[in-house]
């Protein structure tokens, strides 16, 4: 045995395990996506067992592509993931920079800031959609009603009343509606994941070299220039990490979408898979393969964009 093959041999179990771990589910999904396979069928009981004799070729794929929800689901997946990424990075950087300064009670503020991350996704969704975003009983409903009341009162003023009566009555937004439910999901996931970004950026900011900042101060850099030319480049790597990890997580959002609207109008790919999987396992598997392809496209795109900062 050469001294190269010994390490290989020792690594083999781990590699094998990983391969099995990945390849078995992927192969089964591939297999199911090419056959007719449903959980329940009175007319065709033979389709309820996976078998090669039920071969359907690309039929499942065609079926999925022709489904009216499919393109919408892809668009929605991308919309939700990209919005969350952009918002969490912006809020994360702002908050991290803000609480990096020493002030009274910083420790408490930090703990409070991190806490949303420890709320379970389903609980998070229930809280937001029922207690905050609900158009009648939630904070939103109460706030809109309150504002309307104040404006109503102002309409009775002697002179200014005419001006205020030109203002329209505010309408609360229903976030369970087809057009808006995606925004509710984006809002609640952003709220939950901003702490993650803050946490990562905060640790990175603490390792920022103070003498560099002092040198920049002497060089005439103001607060903005210091942020733009020192802090932001310093944060490039943590930003890349936050974007990568979140992209992986949010492509598979499910609980929030289920709770906000039961997929009404804002299905993403995992949700569509779930819907198909109620009965049509073949179509669900084909959608799964599309999801794998989408995830890979996103990954390649991100690696191209961000990989360079990580390698630097």
């Amino acid at each position: 045995m050469t001294n190269r093959s010994l390490p290989r041999l020792l690594q083999a179990p781990a590699v094998l395990l990983l391969l099995v771990w990945m390849l078995v589910p992927l192969s089964i999904t591939l297999y199911f996506s090419f056959i007719r396979y449903v959980l329940n069928s009175l007319r065709k009981p033979e389709w309820t067992k996976p078998a090669l004799s039920n071969w359907r070729g690309f039929g499942n794929y065609e079926f999925v592509l022709n489904n009216k929800d499919f393109i919408l689901a892809i668009q929605n997946s991308l919309l939700i993931v990209c919005s969350i990424l952009i918002l969490t990075v912006i809020f994360g950087v702002l908050i991290a920079v803000l609480i990096n300064k020493t002030f009274m009670g910083r420790g408490v503020v930090r703990v409070l800031l991190i806490s949303p991350f420890f709320v379970m996704p389903a609980v998070n969704a229930v809280l937001w959609i029922n207690m905050i975003l609900d158009p009648v009983l939630g904070l939103q409903g109460l706030a809109v009603a309150g504002i309307n009341e104040v404006i109503d009162g102002l309409r009775n003023l002697p002179i200014l009343g005419g001006f205020f009566s030109m203002w329209p009555e505010l309408e609360p937004i229903s976030f369970r509606a087809t057009q808006t439910s995606a925004y509710a999901v984006i809002t609640m996931v952003t709220w939950q994941w901003t702490p993650f970004a803050v946490l990562i950026f905060m640790t990175s900011l603490q390792s920022e070299d103070q003498q560099q900042k002092e040198a920049a101060v002497l060089d005439g850099a103001g607060t903005w220039s210091q942020f733009r030319f020192l802090t932001l480049p310093h944060l490039a790597r943590p930003i890349a990490i936050v974007v990568m990890i979140q992209a992986i997580f949010h492509l598979s959002l499910y609980a929030e979408i289920e709770i906000v609207s039961r997929g009404n109008g804002n299905k993403n790919l995992p949700y569509l898979i779930g819907e198909f999987a109620n009965n049509n396992i073949g179509a669900a598997s084909a959608t799964g393969i599309f999801a794998v392809i989408l995830a890979n496209i996103v990954a390649i795109f991100l690696l191209r964009m961000i990989g360079k900062t990580l390698m630097d």
Binding site: E214, A215, V217, F229, P233
Partner: protein, 333 residues
Amino acid sequence: MGRIVLNNVTKSFGETQVIPPLDLTIEDGEFAVFVGPSGCGKSTLLRMIAGLEDLTSGQIEIDGDDVTQVPPSKRGLAMVFQSYALYPHMTVRKNIAFPLRMEGMDQSEIDKKVEAAAKSLNLSDYLDRKPAALSGGQRQRVAIGRAIVRNPSAFLFDEPLSNLDAALRVGMRLEISEMHESMKTTMIYVTHDQVEAMTMADKIVVLQAGVIEQVGTPLELYHTPRNVFVAGFIGSPKMNIFSGSEAEKLGAHTAGIRPEHIDIDLSGGTWKGTVGVAEHLGSDTFVHVHDTALGDLVTVRIAGDVAVKHGDTIYLTPQMDKIHKFDEQGLRV
């Protein structure tokens, strides 16, 4: 121009006063070196001059203008840090150009100045590298380049060479001295290194616990130290300082003699002792002698190589005119 005057400046961190009231004048074009033991406030003083640290009280003038409340970037000073403090995401070119860019200078003019500075510092080949791809000496040059392009009225250096190896340090020391000769700009330089202080300074400021013990030219400090602290601090190896009966014989409370001002003999002399360690440097020999009438270990510096070894009995004779005498307060008499 760059005449820097400190009037009655003090600095406290919370309750602890690091700098008690202090006055100091650094003339235009002077090379002033701050030395003192670790923690005596050298860096703090330098940072106060730069404006990075607020004064607790007192006043700083540059060229006659009170700059106490002026922000650091408007004081016209440039600082070089021990850790270089280069901007790691920028190339050497961008690093050097940064202060000019902050001033809002034209790109073409920036390019010209950066090229000129890089040429004078032998950095032309490295302009497009990032700091991580440079050696320590090159990084320090970039830091100096970034200071030079601003055309400051004074340079502030905080132990700029202490991260470099000995050979490089000698080279950079010469380069900075050279730079001072050609630019004639005021420089304030903080160091731990005796040799740097003695060779570079026009004026050495010796600090202890935030108090100025003496200000003078290197040779003034060497020949006429104002007190016991300065006597012991300036010079390497350290002056042999002793008190008690041997000092009283000389008519002083405390007396000192530099290692290079003691002669040795194997047969007879003023003080008898036993050789401990003898360090042979080739050009010099440092002999550490035990069990003399002076009590402590006595160090003797002999030019050239002498054949003494551990355990030898030896006689020491001080050159009487080179003895320093101090009174009860430790002041020179």
